[in-house]
């Protein structure tokens, strides 16, 4: 038989306004990113509106906040799923249906794989592709290319963040399955292939801009510089490569007046 007190507690749910505040605060997850706790302070700050409803007693709430100040690291967008799931689990903890360790285990288990997934998709595929698409459209759209970047990126990023948070809250541990079915990992190679093609088109633009009209040697020099830079970049780094190119351009540019 379930004790009456537990039945009452199990009915406690975080209100929609509080969930909205949690989500809005998740946009500041990395405000105090630090090498020891990484996103811990941001996570504790984001989940506080939910804890305020679940733990009316300030002392209990402070204990819950302290629990969330443990080490936490994830991709800042994918973390929304973990945050949503943590709110759902906190409801169970507050109702006495689960021990507090459940929330910690959930965060520790999902942080690294979600970080890898988010880094691969958002940082290494979507962002470069959106930027390259914008740069490639600049000759046709002018300043409108800025909107291409902002819209391409955020049309994926913002709905993804909202969906991740909502799914995390709705399904808690089940969010893993939902994210696996979102095809983030399988879409990454396609995006990278598109990015490579766009990067090639932009490289061609650099060559053509230097060589047209009627300056074939300029085009040849830029193409050669590009190939050499591509080879030496890993050893030289971007800063030295740029200074080397500036120097080379100054010397050669003066000769080709």
């Amino acid at each position: 038989m379930i004790p009456a007190a537990k039945v009452v507690h199990s009915l406690r749910r975080v209100s929609k306004p509080a969930l909205a505040r949690v989500f809005l605060r998740s946009l500041f997850l990395q405000a105090a990113w630090n090498p020891r706790g990484m996103q811990n302070l941001g996570f504790a700050h984001a989940i506080t509106p939910a804890l305020e409803e679940l733990y009316p007693d300030p002392a209990e709430r402070a204990k819950a906040v302290a629990r969330h100040l443990e080490f936490f690291n994830c991709h800042p967008y994918l973390a929304a799923a973990i945050l949503g799931g943590a709110v759902r689990l906190e409801e169970r903890v507050a109702a006495g249906e689960a021990p507090p360790e459940v929330v910690s285990r959930f965060k520790r288990a999902l942080g690294p794989p979600f970080a890898a997934l988010g880094d691969g998709f958002f940082w290494l595929a979507l962002r470069p592709v959106a930027a390259l698409a914008a740069a490639a459209t600049e000759p046709f759209l002018g300043l409108g290319c800025v909107l291409v970047f902002v819209l391409l990126y955020n049309a994926v990023h913002l709905p993804a963040r909202i969906w991740l948070f909502a799914t995390g809250y709705a399904r808690a541990e089940g969010v893993v399955e939902a994210v696996a079915r979102a095809h983030l990992a399988s879409g990454t190679p396609l995006l990278k292939a598109a990015g490579a093609a766009l990067a090639g088109a932009l490289a061609a633009r650099g060559v053509l801009a230097a060589g047209v009209p009627g300056r074939p040697y300029h085009a040849l020099l830029v193409a050669t510089t590009m190939v050499v830079a591509w080879v030496v970049l890993p050893r030289l780094g971007a800063t030295r490569a740029v200074y080397g190119a500036l120097l080379l351009g100054l010397v050669l540019g003066a000769r080709f007046v």
């Binding site: 990113w33 700050h45 047209v212 591509w230 190119a245 080379l248």
Partner: protein, 243 residues
């Protein structure tokens, strides 16, 4: 006498205030808040350029900068060069300098500005590390307060935004105030020097193109990019009757 924007010193100070605000906000978007990518050079440079009076000039700076730093990724504790600080400061210097010199943002001015300000990308990385060290103190304060029973301890999170905002705002404002010197350097350049600087800007584009291809971390990327580049050049050559 140093060249100033059309409305003189008051306009220069106004532009410095605008650059401080936009530069500071972009520093927040870069990592601490929202991350809508408004701090990327391709957005920040034309946006700040518009606020300072020359959006097209900002775009001329923003695209190669975006390509140069396309591969920089903040993975875990690994810090990339700070492309936003560089884009903000470069735009804040070059756009007012173009207004003051009467040339607008052109390739020679852009090359001069980049040569002077490129180390800011590395400096920005150090600044970010310093900010993270400061955040350790905030975390410790929050832990102590939570252990003492303070349920509002995590509010300290937002204080982590102050240092990045202040540092970027200060640097962008100083960049505007230093712009008359760049305008003077640009107005002293003549024939061969201008051609040399234009060549330097083309060379920067070449490195930017190479960086963009490197940014796609996929073994097929170089071959795909090369094939696409050759195709585009060939089509353009045929279309313009060069072959």
């Amino acid at each position: 006498m140093l060249p100033l924007p059309p409305r003189g010193a008051p306009q220069l100070f106004l532009l410095a205030a605008i650059a401080a605000l936009v530069g500071g906000l972009s520093a927040l978007d870069r990592k601490g808040a929202l991350q809508l990518m408004l701090s990327r050079p391709i957005v920040l440079a034309p946006m700040l350029g518009w606020a300072l009076g020359d959006a097209q000039g900002g775009l001329l700076l923003g695209i190669p900068l975006e390509l140069l730093f396309l591969g920089g990724v903040n993975l875990g504790g690994n810090l990339p060069d700070n492309e936003s600080l560089l884009a903000g400061a470069l735009t804040a210097t070059v756009v007012p300098a173009g207004l003051a010199a009467g040339t607008g943002v052109d390739a020679p001015l852009a090359a001069l500005g980049l040569a002077l300000l490129l180390p800011l990308a590395l400096f920005g990385r150090r600044l970010e590390r310093a900010s993270e060290e400061r955040n350790i103190e905030l975390m410790q304060q929050a832990l102590e307060r939570a252990e003492r029973g303070d349920p509002t301890a995590a509010r300290l999170n937002l204080r982590g935004l102050l240092l990045p905002f202040g540092a970027a705002a200060g640097i962008c404002a100083l960049a505007v105030l230093a712009s008359p010197m760049l305008a003077l350097a640009r107005s002293l350049c003549r024939g061969a020097q201008l051609a040399a600087l234009e060549g330097a800007w083309h060379a920067v584009w070449a490195v930017a193109g190479a960086c963009a291809i490197r940014a796609i971390r996929d073994p097929r990327a170089p071959a795909l990019a090369a094939a696409c580049a050759v195709t585009v050049i060939a089509i353009t050559a045929v279309a313009r009757g060069l072959w």
